[in-house]
Symmetry: C2
Subunit: 554 residues, 2 copies
C-alpha cells in the first residue's frame, strides 16, 4: 500500500492504481465532510479499532459527517482514502487516513454499509463526479491505515514515528504547483483573449469624423486590461522566485531539516490567497471588458472564470490562509523587535521604517527603488498597526483569542500588504536580471512599473495614511500611471503573444491569433446544436400551435 500513500499525500487527487495483473482500482481522496472543510480537527467520521478482529470500524455518525466533494467519488471510484478520527479503547487519537473499498470490482455496486453518490451540478467541473460517502459499520483490516508516520499495533498500542511536519510541505507543494500550472496561466489566457479582441473591436470615434477607434486605444479600456497583463507577468516572475525558494526548502527537508517550513507555509498560504483573488477578479475584468461577446461561451472567457473561481476556496479558503500568514508575521515582528533572527522573507521587518517618500517629479515614480520602498513601508506600517492593536487589547485584559478575533480584518490586510510587497520586489529584481536584453528589459520594466503603480493607484489610502506620500505625490503617481498605460498599450499584443498559447488552447472565437473575430463567431454559432438539429422541436411542439391558432384560443 506504500504506493497509494505516496500518490495520495503528494497529489491529493484520484489515481488509477494497477492492483494485480487483471484488475485495477480507482481511488478517491475523501477528506472534506459535508459539515467540515477547512477545520480538519472537526471531522466527525470515526474509525474505531477492534482488537479482537484486528479491524477498524468506520462510521459517519450524522449527516454532517458524510464525506462531500471528493473527486471521482460520485460514480467512478472503487476505493477511497477516508480521513477519520481514530479511536482506540475509547480514546481519540485524531484524524488518520484509511483505505476503504467502496464499490465492488465486479459490478460496481456499493460495498456493504456504504452509501455513495454524486453531489450534483456545480458552477464548473461538471465532468468530475464529486461525490458523497456515508459509512455504516464498514470494517477494514488493521493494515489499511496509512502508517508512514503513525501505526496501530496488534495490541492497540498507538506508535508515532517520523515527523508530521512533512504533511505541511505536501500542502505547500500542491499550492505552488497550482499557482504555476493553473491559476496564473488562466489569467494569461484571459488577457490574451481580451487584448487581441480589443485591437479588433472598434467602437465610437475618438476624434470626430475618424474611423471608429480600436477599443484598446481608450484609456478606460487600457485601465481595465493592461494592469491585468502586468499582474500576469508579476505573478509569473514571482513563481520563478517561489520555485527556487521551495527547491531550497526541499533539499533541506530531505536532510531532515524542517527549519524553513513555517516560512514556506506562511508564504505559500498568503501567495495562494492573493494570486487566486487577483487572478479570479482579473479574468472577470477581462471578460467584462469584452462587452456582450465576453458573455458568450464562444469567447472562452466565462468558463475561465467559473473554473478559476473555485481556486479561492479549494486548497485552503483564502481568508483562513491569510490569517495563517498573519499569525506568522506577528510572531516574526515580535522576534525582530526583540533582536532575534527572523527568516529571510520577513527580514525587512527588522529595519527601521522609512518616514516619507521624497519624490518630487512624476518620473521618479517609475524608479523601482521608489515604489518597492513604498510597498515595504506600507507592509511594515499595516502589520505594526495590527500588532499594536492586538497587544493593546491583551494588555487591557482581553484574552488572546478574543483579541486576535477583534483584529482579524486588519491582520488580513497586513498579510496582503506583505505579499504584495514581495511580488513587487521580485518583479523589480527580475527586471534587473534582464540587463543583457535591453529591448525586453525596457518593455518588462514598464510592465513592472505599471503593476506597482496600479497597486498604489488602487489603494492610495494605504500610502497616504501616515503621510508617507502626500496628495500631491499621489497626483504625480497617477500621472505616471496613466502615462504607462499609453506606453504599455503599444506592446500589449506582443506581450500576450509571448505567452504563446495555441488557438486550440485558448478555444476562443475572440482571441485567435489571426484576429478573425466576427467570422469565427458566426462560424461557431452556426454549428450550435440549436441551429443544426432539424426539425426545430420547440417550434413543432410549442410555437406552431400558438402561431396558427392565435393567442385568443389559448
Amino acid at each position: 500500500m506504500e504506493s497509494i500513500l505516496a500518490l495520495s499525500t503528494d497529489e491529493q487527487t484520484a489515481k488509477w492504481i494497477p492492483l494485480a495483473e487483471n484488475y485495477c482500482i480507482l481511488g478517491s481522496y475523501a477528506q472534506t465532510e459535508l459539515g467540515h472543510g477547512t477545520y480538519i480537527r472537526g471531522f466527525e467520521t470515526t474509525a474505531t479499532f477492534n482488537i479482537s478482529t484486528q479491524e477498524f470500524v468506520l462510521n459517519t455518525p450524522k449527516i454532517s459527517a458524510m464525506k462531500w466533494w471528493p473527486g471521482e467519488l460520485g460514480r467512478s471510484a472503487t476505493h477511497a482514502v477516508v480521513f477519520a478520527q481514530l479511536y482506540i479503547k475509547g480514546k481519540c487519537y485524531g484524524v488518520h487516513p484509511f483505505i476503504v473499498q467502496i464499490r465492488s470490482l465486479h459490478d460496481h455496486s456499493p460495498a456493504p454499509g456504504v452509501t455513495v453518490g454524486d453531489i450534483g451540478p456545480k458552477m464548473e467541473f461538471n465532468h468530475i463526479d464529486n461525490g458523497y460517502l456515508l459509512l455504516r459499520d464498514v470494517r477494514v483490516p488493521r493494515e489499511n491505515m496509512l502508517s508512514r508516520f503513525c501505526e496501530v499495533l496488534a495490541d492497540g498500542t498507538y506508535v508515532k514515528r517520523g515527523s508530521e511536519k512533512i504533511n505541511y510541505f505536501n500542502m505547500i507543494i500542491i499550492r505552488v504547483k497550482m499557482l504555476s500550472n493553473e491559476v496564473v496561466p488562466t489569467l494569461m489566457k484571459a488577457c490574451t483573449i481580451a487584448i487581441r479582441y480589443s485591437v479588433v473591436r472598434r467602437q465610437c470615434e475618438l476624434k470626430p469624423g475618424d474611423q471608429e477607434a480600436k477599443i484598446l486605444d481608450y484609456q478606460t479600456q487600457q485601465q481595465k486590461l493592461l494592469p491585468m497583463l502586468a499582474t500576469a507577468y508579476a505573478f509569473h516572475f514571482m513563481n520563478q522566485y517561489m520555485n527556487e525558494l521551495f527547491s531550497k526548502g526541499y533539499r533541506e527537508i530531505k536532510q531532515r531539516n524542517f527549519d524553513s517550513l513555517p516560512e514556506l507555509h506562511a508564504f505559500s498560504s498568503g501567495l495562494k490567497a492573493i494570486y487566486t483573488e487577483h487572478c479570479t477578479a482579473g479574468v472577470e475584468t477581462c471578460r467584462k471588458a469584452c462587452g456582450g461577446h465576453g458573455y458568450s461561451l464562444l469567447s472562452g472567457l466565462p468558463s475561465l472564470y467559473t473554473r478559476l473561481a473555485a481556486s479561492c476556496t479549494y486548497e485552503g479558503e483564502n481568508t483562513v490562509l491569510l490569517l495563517q500568514t498573519a499569525r506568522f508575521l506577528v510572531k516574526c515582528l515580535g522576534a525582530a523587535h526583540s533582536g532575534q533572527p527572523v527568516p529571510p522573507s520577513v527580514a525587512y521587518l527588522s529595519a527601521a521604517n522609512s518616514e516619507r517618500c521624497l519624490v518630487r517629479d512624476k518620473r521618479d515614480f517609475l524608479q523601482p527603488d521608489v515604489y518597492v520602498e513604498a510597498y515595504r513601508h506600507v507592509a511594515i506600517r499595516v502589520l505594526s498597526s495590527a500588532a499594536a492593536k492586538l497587544q493593546a487589547l491583551v494588555q487591557s485584559g482581553a484574552e488572546q483569542h478574543e483579541a486576535w478575533h477583534q483584529c482579524t480584518v486588519q491582520l488580513v490586510h497586513a498579510a496582503k500588504a506583505h505579499c504584495h510587497y514581495h511580488v513587487v520586489k521580485s518583479f523589480a529584481e527580475a527586471v534587473e536580471k534582464l540587463g543583457q536584453e535591453a529591448g525586453i528589459q525596457r518593455m518588462i520594466k514598464h510592465l513592472c512599473g505599471l503593476f506597482a503603480l496600479h497597486g498604489i493607484f488602487s489603494n492610495t489610502g494605504d500610502f497616504l495614511h501616515d503621510g508617507y506620500i502626500s496628495g500631491d505625490q499621489v497626483d504625480m503617481m497617477t500621472a505616471s500611471y496613466l502615462d504607462l498605460l499609453a506606453i504599455v498599450r503599444k506592446d500589449a499584443v506582443p506581450l500576450v503573444d509571448a505567452f504563446d498559447f495555441t488557438d486550440e488552447t485558448l478555444n476562443s472565437a475572440l482571441g485567435s491569433y489571426d484576429g478573425q473575430v466576427y467570422r469565427r463567431l458566426y462560424q461557431w454559432a452556426q454549428r450550435s446544436p440549436s441551429n443544426t438539429k432539424q426539425p426545430n422541436q420547440a417550434y413543432e411542439n410549442y410555437l406552431k400551435p400558438l402561431f396558427q391558432n392565435g393567442l385568443s384560443k389559448l
Copy 2:
C-alpha cells in the same frame, strides 16, 4: 402597427402580438449588431428607399453588420423590428426601425433573403434564443418604418416631427425598472442565502475548547457579508427616491416639458453603472463567503451571479454610461461656477467645499451629517480635479476630444463619487423619515452607518487625499466601522428575513428559512440525474472494461 411601436420602444423585448383572429406573431427587437453595440450611429445595416416600388430594401452588407444578440430571434420570432441606416436618394438619414417578417407563419422557414439562427451558448439565459440575422435585399412596404417621430413620404421626402428626446426617457424607464426589479433583488437574495447559511455553518473554535463557532460570528465573515446587506438596503432606499424623481419627470414630459431629461438621463446612467457593479460583485462575495458549498448550483448562488453579470453590459455598458454622467457633471460644474442655475441633483456643486472633517471621537463617525458631508466633499473634489485637468489640457492646446480622452479614468471616478454621495445621502434621509418607529429606525441607522463607513474604509485614499480627514481619523472611522459589524451582526437574520423571499423563490439548499442546510443538500443531491439514472452508463461503457482488464492491457 401602432401597437407594435408602443410595445417595442417601451419594453425593448420580444412580444406576442395577436395579428388576426387565427394568427399571432412573435416579434424580436433587432438592434445590436455583431460589430456594433453601444454606438448606435455605427450600425451598418441599411434600409434603402425605392420610390418606384414604395419599398425599403434592407441589407446587412458585411458579417459585422448582422444583427447579433436580439432575444427570441434564434429559433422563435416571426417578425423583427430591425434598426437600419435609412438611405433616400443616396443620402443617409441615420438609424430608424423597420418591421421585417423573418419567418413564414405557415412553416416557420426563413423568409426570402433572410438568414437567421441562434448565437450559441452563453454564461446564463440559455433558455432564451438570442439570435443572429442576415438580410439580403429584403423588401418591406413603406408603412413598415415605425413613424411616430419621422416619416418617409411617397415621393421620398423625409419628414421629422415631435421630439426624439422621448427616446431617452424610454431608456431611463427601462434602467430604473431593471434596477428595482432585477438588480437589487438579486443582491437581496444572495445576502439572504449567505447570511442564513452563516448562522448554520460552524467552523473552528473562537475560544479554545468551545463548540465550533457560527461563521457569521467571525469578524472576517461579517466584513464580507454585512456591508453587502447594507448595500442592498441602501439601493432599496435610493430606488424609492429615484422612482419619485422619475414620476415627477414623467408628469412634466407628458406636458411636453423636457427640461429634466438631461439630469434624469445622467443620474439613471450613473446609478445603473454603480448598482450593477456593486450588486454583481456583492453577489459573488456572498457566494464565495459560503465556501465550497457556494460553488454548488444547489446553493442557488452561482446562477444569481452568472445572470446578474450580464447587467454590467446590457442596457448600456457601464464605463460608457459613467462617462455620460461625467459629461453632464462637468457641464453642470461649469454652470455652477459661473453662477448659473443647475438641476437639483448637482446643486451641491454650487456650494463651497468644506475644508476639513472635525471629528475627534470614533462615535462621531456614526453621525449621518458627518459621513454625508465627507462623501459630498469627495464628490466635489474628485470632479473638480478631473475638470481642472481637462481645462488645463485644453488651455495647453489639446483638442477637446483628446483632452477628454486623457481624463476618462478620472472622469469615471468622478461619476462614481457623485452617485455614491447620492446613495449615502438618500439612505440617511430615509433613516430620518423612520422617526415614528424607533426600533426599526435604530436598526436601519446602523445599516446606513455601515454602508457609509464601509465605503470610506474601502476608499480611504479618496478622503485622505487633500487632508479632509487625517490618518488618525481614519483609525477612528475604522474602529467605528468594526464596532458596527458586531452590532449589525445581531440583527442580520431578521434584516434578511424582512426581504421576505419564499424558499421557492430562493431555490437554495443553503438559504431556506428553516436552516436545514445539510439535510436539504443531501436530499437535493440524491435527486441528481447522475444518481437516479440506472445503469450507470459511464461505468458500463468506459470504466468496466478498464477495471476488469487492468490498465496493463490498455
